[in-house]
C-alpha cells in the first residue's frame, strides 16, 4: 500500500474572472474614454432623434401617405399652410443637401458620414495598447511569467474587450437607426448608400470588432502602440474603401430587368444601359441625342424607347436584400476578426519577446 500523496499545490489554471478583473483594471481608462465618446454621440442622437421623430409625426399626420411616397425630397405641392410648416420642419433636420459635409453642419444627412470614422478610431484606440503596451514598456516580462501564463492572459484581455466594444458599437448603431428611421420611412434615402449601410444593422459593430482585432494584432507584430494604430488605421481605411467601392455590390448576383427599372431610392442601382429589341447594344449618346428635346431631368419612358425599337436595362440589388448584405459583410468581418484574435494569441505564444 502506498501512502496517499498529499497534493502540495492545486494545479489548476487561474480563473477567468480574476483575469477579467486585471483586464478591467488595466483598461478602465481606455473604456471610460470610449464610453465618453459613445455617450456624447449617443446623447446627441437621442436628443435630436426625439425632435426628428416628433417632426416626422406632425409631417406624416398632415401629408397623406400617397403624397409622401412621391415627394421624396422636401417639396410639397398644394395642401394646408400647417402642412407646409410641418414639412419644412421635418426636412430641415436633413439639412439643405447642398455643400460639403463640413460646411452644412451637423444634420441627419451629415451625421452618418462622421459616424463612419467611429469604428476605425474606437477599435484602434482600444485595441492598440492591449498587448503592445506590455511589449514596448517591458512589463511583458512581468505579465507573461505569472502563474496565469501568457496565452490565457492574452485571451482574457482580447475576448472581453472585443465583446464589450462590439456590444457598445451595436448599441450606438441601433440608436442611430432609430434616429435616421423617419427619413428612410419618408423615402428620403435608401439604406444602401455607404454612410447608412456602414452605420446601421450589424455593419457598424462588425467594423468596430475588426478594427479592434486588427490593431491588437498589429500591436503584437510591430511591438509598439502608436505605429500599430497608425498602420491599422491605414489598412482599415483601405479595406473600408475597397469594400465600399468594389466588394459590397457583389455579395449577390444583381437582378437584371428591362423597362421602367427600380422605383424609389431604396434599391441599389449598379448600372443601366440600352439595347435594340433584338439585343444589340446602343450607346447612351445615341439615345440621348434622339431625345435631346426632353426637358432636363426627364428620362425617356419605355414607351418612348419602344418607338425606336430600343430597350432600357437595369441591374440592381433590391432593397429586400439589405439584411442579407449586412449579414454577409458582418460574417466575413467576424471571421476575419476571429482569425486575427487567434493569430494574436498564437504570436504571443510563439514569440513572447
Amino acid at each position: 500500500m502506498t501512502a496517499a500523496a498529499i497534493p502540495a499545490r492545486m494545479l489548476r489554471p487561474v480563473p477567468w474572472t480574476r483575469l477579467a478583473w486585471v483586464t478591467w483594471r488595466q483598461h478602465r481608462a481606455a473604456l471610460a474614454g470610449a464610453a465618453a465618446l459613445l455617450g456624447t454621440i449617443g446623447a446627441y442622437l437621442a436628443y435630436t432623434g426625439r425632435e426628428i421623430h416628433r417632426a416626422y409625426d406632425a409631417y406624416a399626420g398632415c401629408v397623406p401617405a400617397s403624397m409622401r411616397a412621391q415627394q421624396r425630397g422636401g417639396m410639397l405641392m398644394g395642401g394646408a399652410q400647417a402642412c407646409h410648416l410641418a414639412n419644412r420642419a421635418f426636412f430641415s433636420f436633413y439639412g439643405s443637401g447642398q455643400g460639403s459635409v463640413v460646411a452644412s453642419g451637423l444634420n441627419a444627412q451629415t451625421v452618418p458620414f462622421l459616424l463612419l470614422a467611429v469604428p476605425v478610431l474606437l477599435g484602434a484606440f482600444v485595441g492598440g495598447p492591449v498587448l503592445a503596451r506590455e511589449l514596448e514598456s517591458g512589463t511583458f516580462r512581468f505579465a507573461w511569467t505569472q502563474g496565469a501564463g501568457r496565452v490565457r492572459l492574452a485571451a482574457a484581455r482580447l475576448v472581453p474587450l472585443a465583446v464589450v466594444l462590439t456590444a457598445a458599437a451595436y448599441a450606438l448603431s441601433a440608436l442611430f437607426s432609430w434616429y435616421i428611421g423617419p427619413f428612410v420611412q419618408a423615402g428620403v434615402t435608401g439604406r444602401y448608400p455607404m454612410q447608412l449601410f456602414g452605420t446601421m444593422g450589424t455593419d457598424f459593430a462588425a467594423w468596430t470588432l475588426f478594427s479592434f482585432a486588427l490593431t491588437a494584432f498589429a500591436g503584437v507584430l510591430l511591438r509598439r502602440t502608436v505605429p500599430a494604430m497608425a498602420a491599422s488605421i491605414a489598412v482599415l481605411t483601405t479595406a473600408d474603401v475597397v469594400t465600399i467601392m468594389a466588394l459590397r455590390q457583389h455579395y449577390a448576383a444583381p437582378v437584371v430587368v428591362t423597362g421602367a427599372g427600380p422605383a424609389g431610392n431604396s434599391d441599389l442601382v449598379l448600372a443601366n444601359w440600352y439595347t435594340t429589341t433584338s439585343g444589340v447594344p446602343v450607346s447612351q449618346d445615341t439615345v440621348l441625342r434622339a431625345f435631346a428635346r426632353l426637358p432636363f431631368g426627364v428620362t425617356p419612358s419605355p414607351a418612348m424607347l419602344a418607338a425606336h425599337h430600343w430597350l432600357q436595362w437595369w441591374s440592381y440589388q433590391p432593397a429586400s436584400r439589405w439584411w442579407q448584405f449586412q449579414l454577409t459583410e458582418g460574417g466575413w468581418l467576424l471571421a476575419a476578426s476571429l482569425l486575427l484574435i487567434t493569430g494574436t494569441i498564437l504570436l504571443i505564444r510563439r514569440r513572447p519577446a
Binding site: R9, M10, L11, R12, P13, V14, R18, L19, W21, V22, R25, Q26, S137, G138, T139, F140, R141, F142, A143, W144, T145, Q146, G147, A148, G149, L153, P352, A353
Partner: protein, 252 residues
C-alpha cells in the same frame, strides 16, 4: 536535488545566432546560486528558458522536475526580470491586486507586512518609487506567490551599493525562511561570496566553473571567488580568440 536541470540546452535567435548553445548544468536546490558571466554569455537566455519565457531550440530544461513553461513549472517559479518591470501607472495596492489575480496562490498578508517593513506605502504609485524600492516591490510580489524557485535576472545592475546589500539580504532571508531556492544572474563578480552560496560561471553558453563558494575557494588554494572567476573568464576569452584565429586560418 537540483532545482534547475538543463541538458544540451540551446537557443538560436533568428538566422544562425545562438544565444545559448549545448548548455548542460544543474542548479542545486536550497541555496542562493549566482550565475556569473560576461555580457552575451547567455545568462538572460538561460534564465528566460528556465522561466518559460522562451522555448529551447535544442535540449531540455526542467524546473523542480517540471518542464519549464508548463502550468506546474509556472506555478513553482517566480521571476523578477531585469530592471524589475512593473506597471508604473498603478498604485502599489493595485499592483499587488493585479499580481494576486494573475496567480493561483497569493500570500497577501506577507506582501503587505513586507512592504510595511520596507516603508513602502500602498497608496504610492509604482512609478514614484526609487529604484531600490521598486526592486523590493518586485521581490515582494515574487515571494507572495510562494514559489519554490526564485529567478532574478541582473537584480543588482540598477541598484546603488546600499540597495544591493539590502536586496540580497532580503533574498537570502527569504530563501532561508521558506526553504526555497534562488538563482540570480550578474556580471559583477565583486563581493559574490557574501551573496551566493553556489556559483556557476558561464562563458559563451558553456559552464566554465561551478561549485559552492567555499568549495571553489578551497580548490583554488585560497583564492577569493572573484579571483577564481576572473581567471576562468580570462582563460575562456583566450580560448575563444584562439578558436577564432583557427577559423580564420581555415577559411584562408
Amino acid at each position: 536535488m537540483d532545482v534547475i536541470e538543463a541538458a544540451g540546452l540551446g537557443k538560436r535567435y533568428g538566422r544562425g545566432k545562438w544565444g545559448l548553445r549545448d548548455c548542460t548544468l544543474s542548479v542545486p536546490a536550497g541555496c542562493v546560486t549566482g550565475l556569473v558571466g560576461p555580457n552575451g554569455s547567455g545568462k538572460t537566455t538561460l534564465l528566460s528558458l528556465a522561466v518559460g519565457m522562451i522555448r529551447p531550440t535544442a535540449g531540455t530544461v526542467r524546473v523542480a522536475g517540471e518542464t519549464a513553461g508548463s502550468l506546474a513549472a509556472r506555478d513553482l517559479t517566480a521571476f523578477v526580470a531585469q530592471d524589475a518591470p512593473l506597471y508604473q501607472n498603478l498604485p502599489v495596492r493595485d499592483m499587488l491586486r493585479v499580481a494576486r489575480n494573475l496567480n493561483t496562490r497569493w500570500d497577501s498578508d506577507r506582501a503587505v507586512a513586507r512592504l510595511d517593513g520596507l516603508g513602502i506605502a500602498l497608496k504610492q504609485r509604482v512609478g514614484a518609487l526609487s529604484g531600490g524600492q521598486k526592486a523590493q516591490l518586485a521581490l515582494t510580489i515574487a515571494l507572495a506567490r510562494r514559489p519554490e524557485l526564485l529567478v532574478l535576472d541582473e537584480p543588482l545592475a540598477a541598484l546603488d551599493p546600499l540597495a544591493r546589500a539590502d536586496f540580497m539580504k532580503s533574498v537570502r532571508e527569504a530563501v532561508a525562511a521558506d526553504q526555497i531556492s534562488a538563482v540570480f544572474s550578474t556580471h559583477v563578480v565583486a563581493e559574490l561570496e557574501q551573496v551566493a552560496g553556489y556559483l556557476i560561471v558561464l562563458g559563451h553558453g558553456e559552464v566554465l566553473l561551478s561549485g559552492t563558494t567555499a568549495g571553489l575557494t578551497a580548490a583554488h588554494g585560497g583564492q577569493t571567488p572573484e579571483q577564481v572567476i576572473l581567471s576562468a573568464l580570462r582563460q575562456d576569452a583566450e580560448n575563444a580568440q584562439h578558436a577564432q584565429g583557427r577559423a580564420q586560418e581555415a577559411t584562408r
